[in-house]
């Protein structure tokens, strides 16, 4: 008796979102089936990975991570070019962390200059991220949107507290937006509704469900993602149809496993492999939950993840 493959029928799909311009523009999403189940649907785009760079030198990054960018990370332009030209980055995520009031408190004008300089130096798509200070981000990202006009960037993140300014600026300058809410399916839906009520196209949104590191809450992100994707595919809920993005480097490289010396915890094994592996395993897990794009930090973790993505084709 031949095996009849039990196929699911889907009523909806994930929107396809293009970021960047020209031949190196990247498309994410577009699938009409659960992750990688191409025997019952189409998946036009594999998950994409962006290398993160920052507008100020990353002195707060763990040693293992700083070492990977020694000599290039004190200047965002050099750093971005290094990622694109030396490391084969598909996209650059420029995090304007220096604008945070508790950091260098750089101004929106400073940020706009950095954005202009980085955009002039690379031709891969650029994701522009604020410092995650809701109030400051509204001003910073507005200035960034203007500076980046014409480059179809992905601007993040718009949150419930600050989305109005960011959405207005992104609309005016023709960018896509990352909408982030706090690990809750209903909050994600609500934010997308608020954003589209401003006249922003739902097909120009990318959902960040709020990531968590392996061992520090990944299962919450994982299940929120599976539920968002199920709502898009099974219930044809258009507010849940944006592709999903996971900004994992910022969560992973704060945990003890990326910093503790082997001498202090011999049962944890060698530090460098352990730290890099913590980031790539976090990524692999979330790719299984439907991640369409990841923002990552360590080049070796990114390479390992790209190999697994190739193995999923």
């Amino acid at each position: 008796m031949a095996f009849v493959v039990p196929k699911e029928t889907y009523n909806g799909k994930v929107f396809e979102v293009e970021v960047g311009t020209g031949p190196k523009a990247v498309k994410i999403g577009g699938e009409n089936t659960l992750p990688f189940l191409t025997f019952e649907g189409g998946m036009p785009n594999m998950p994409a990975v962006a290398h993160e760079v920052q507008d100020v030198a990353p002195d707060d990054w763990p040693e293992t991570l700083q070492a990977a960018y020694k000599g290039v990370s004190s200047d965002p332009v050099t750093w971005a070019k290094h990622c694109q030209d030396e490391l084969g980055a598909q996209a650059i995520a420029l995090r304007l962390i220096g604008t945070h009031p508790d950091r260098q408190d750089r101004t929106p004008e400073d940020a706009a200059k950095t954005v202009t300089d980085v955009l002039a130096a690379v031709d891969v798509p650029v994701i522009i991220l604020g410092s995650n200070h809701a109030e400051k981000d509204a001003q910073v990202l507005r200035a960034a949107c203007d500076a980046a006009k014409g480059r179809n960037c992905l601007i993040g993140k718009a949150q419930e507290a600050n989305y109005k300014t960011i959405i207005a600026a992104a609309m005016a300058a023709g960018h896509k937006v990352i909408a982030m809410s706090d690990l809750d399916v209903n909050l994600a839906k609500q934010l997308n509704i608020l954003i589209t009520q401003m006249g922003f196209e739902k097909e120009n949104i990318v959902t960040d469900p709020m990531s968590s590191a392996l061992g520090y809450g990944i299962e919450y992100t994982y299940s929120v993602m599976e539920r968002i994707r199920a709502a898009a595919l099974m219930q044809n809920d258009a507010t849940m149809s944006p592709p999903m993005l996971n900004d994992i480097g910022m969560y992973v490289w704060k945990v003890k496993e990326t910093m503790a010396a082997e001498a202090d915890l011999p049962e944890w094994g060698t530090l460098e492999d352990r730290a890099i592996g913590w980031e790539s395993t976090t990524a692999a897990g979330l790719i299984m939950a439907g991640s369409n794009m990841l923002i990552m930090r360590h080049p070796k973790a990114i390479d390992a993840v790209k190999k697994v993505i190739a193995d999923l084709a």
Binding site: F3, E219, T281, V308
Partner: protein, 447 residues
């Protein structure tokens, strides 16, 4: 695949004789459907009824145990496709593959025996050793299995060979230890089933794809043997995701008995980082046993954590033990902070206090595993309860001061807490844990 009362009723005598203790056969059928009665109560039940009901009440996926004693591994019994529907039942097992030609068999086996670590109060490890018959020689294989059994007596063993002669030679060394024979192919199925029956072992059937595997599981079941594990030969990430999804779906949604068995795969790759990521794919996508080519501590730490996370009950938060934890070289003058015993809260707060490099005391209060805000909203993290905990915990024995730093989100409790803890100063800390390093450093500088 629950049967309804009406479906069951069709198979009952329909005499309403009341011998089962219920007024009618239909009433009895409803009780059977709710699993509140057993068919044994009906003296007139036909053989057909017994086998029909027996088959329907079997779980969609078999349970398989490998190894013996309290470190035995149980896998299978899964019922859903998504962890948010219902908790996954039995965490998958990890196996280290050791070739019978390896010069370091004992050392590698010993590393598996010593692989246990503790995470969130659970003791977790690499559970199995898979001995590969790389030599093709039954005697060499048996010798390798003997070495493994002696160097790691409590670790479950997978006999990875498709040669019945090699299995037979090796079985004496794992007698009574419920090994997994991996495995049978179309040509040797009968011989392998007989060996498995004889040895009380379970048996993996290895076919190229799902159709080949079904043929073998049906044949084995026909021989009265169902302690089976499935190996479709999927080794690429794509094949794992597709095939294991199809198998899980067939078993739990379509009641396909011939696929109602746990799945085994090998996540081998020359690049250890890629092997680790491939194993992550297998863990997430329904594998019950994941075989690895190497178990470096850094690699298994992440995989053990991922497995723990994926298999956590989504309804029951993980909790840590209530205690006053010493962070770094905390002394009597060191700050005392309080937080809740939700494991995520604990790990994040602990991590930030460690990042601060300011030795501190962290009082962790049992609120049944809720986060700070949730516990406060649920009335479990109140001024009186906190005061009681601090008084009873002996936290004041560790510190020479009487200052308690409370999470910023429950700042509203500070007045009431000062009333309940006379003599204590209540300081409101930051709302977000990631502001703790700046907070603690500023405090230390001001002191």
């Amino acid at each position: 695949m629950a049967l309804s009362g009406v479906e069951i009723f069709k198979h009952l005598p329909k005499t309403n004789c009341k011998k089962c203790g219920f007024p009618t056969c239909l009433a009895f059928a409803m009780k059977l459907a709710a699993k509140q009665a057993s068919l044994d109560a009906c003296p007139d039940a036909s053989e057909e009824a017994k086998s029909f009901l027996g088959a329907a009440s079997e779980p969609p996926m078999r349970a398989i145990t490998i190894g013996a004693g309290d470190k035995a591994l149980k896998v299978g019994e899964e019922t859903v496709l998504f962890r948010h529907e219902k908790k996954f039942v039995n965490p998958c097992g990890f196996a280290l593959a050791i070739k019978d030609t390896d010069p370091d068999i004992e050392a590698k086996a010993a590393s598996v025996a010593a692989s246990e670590i503790e995470r969130v109060g659970q003791k977790l490890r690499v559970e199995l050793i898979s001995v590969l018959n790389t030599s093709g020689d039954p005697a060499k294989f048996a010798a390798a299995v003997a070495k493994v059994a002696s160097a790691a007596p409590e670790v479950g063993v997978i006999l990875a060979t498709e040669d019945p002669a090699a299995v037979e030679a090796a079985l004496t060394h794992v007698s009574g230890k419920k090994p997994l024979i991996c495995g049978a192919n179309v040509g040797n199925l009968e011989a392998m089933v007989n060996l498995a029956k004889y040895a009380g072992a379970s048996l993996a059937v290895r076919g190229n794809g799902i159709d080949a595997v079904i043929e073998m599981t049906e044949k084995a079941a026909g021989m009265g043997f169902k302690d089976l594990v499935i190996d479709t030969g999927a080794r690429k990430a794509k094949d794992m995701v597709e095939q294991f999804t199809q198998i899980r779906r067939a078993a739990v949604k379509k009641g396909v008995k011939s696929l109602g068995y746990p799945v085994i795969t090998c996540a081998f790759h020359d690049d250890p980082l890629v092997e680790q990521a491939l194993a992550a794919v297998a863990i997430a996508k329904y594998a019950s046993i994941v075989v690895l080519s190497d178990i470096s501590k850094w690699k298994t730490l992440a995989l053990i954590a991922l497995r723990q996370n994926i298999y956590t009950d989504p309804q029951v938060p993980m909790q840590v033990k209530q205690d006053v934890y010493k962070v770094g070289d905390a002394k009597a003058e060191s700050p005392l902070l309080i937080t809740t015993n939700f494991s995520l809260t604990y790990f994040i707060v602990l991590g930030e206090v460690e990042n601060a490099k300011v030795p501190s005391w962290l009082a962790v209060m049992d609120v049944e595993g809720l986060s700070v805000l949730t516990a406060w909203a649920a009335g479990k993290f109140t001024a009186s309860k906190i005061a009681q905990f601090i008084t009873e915990s002996g936290a004041d024995q560790n510190v020479s001061h009487k200052e308690l730093i409370i999470p910023g989100y429950v700042a509203v409790l500070s007045g009431a807490l000062e009333d309940k803890l006379p003599g204590w100063k209540i300081t409101v800390g930051p709302r977000e844990a990631n502001a703790l390093p700046a907070f603690l450093k500023n405090k230390a500088a001001a002191a």
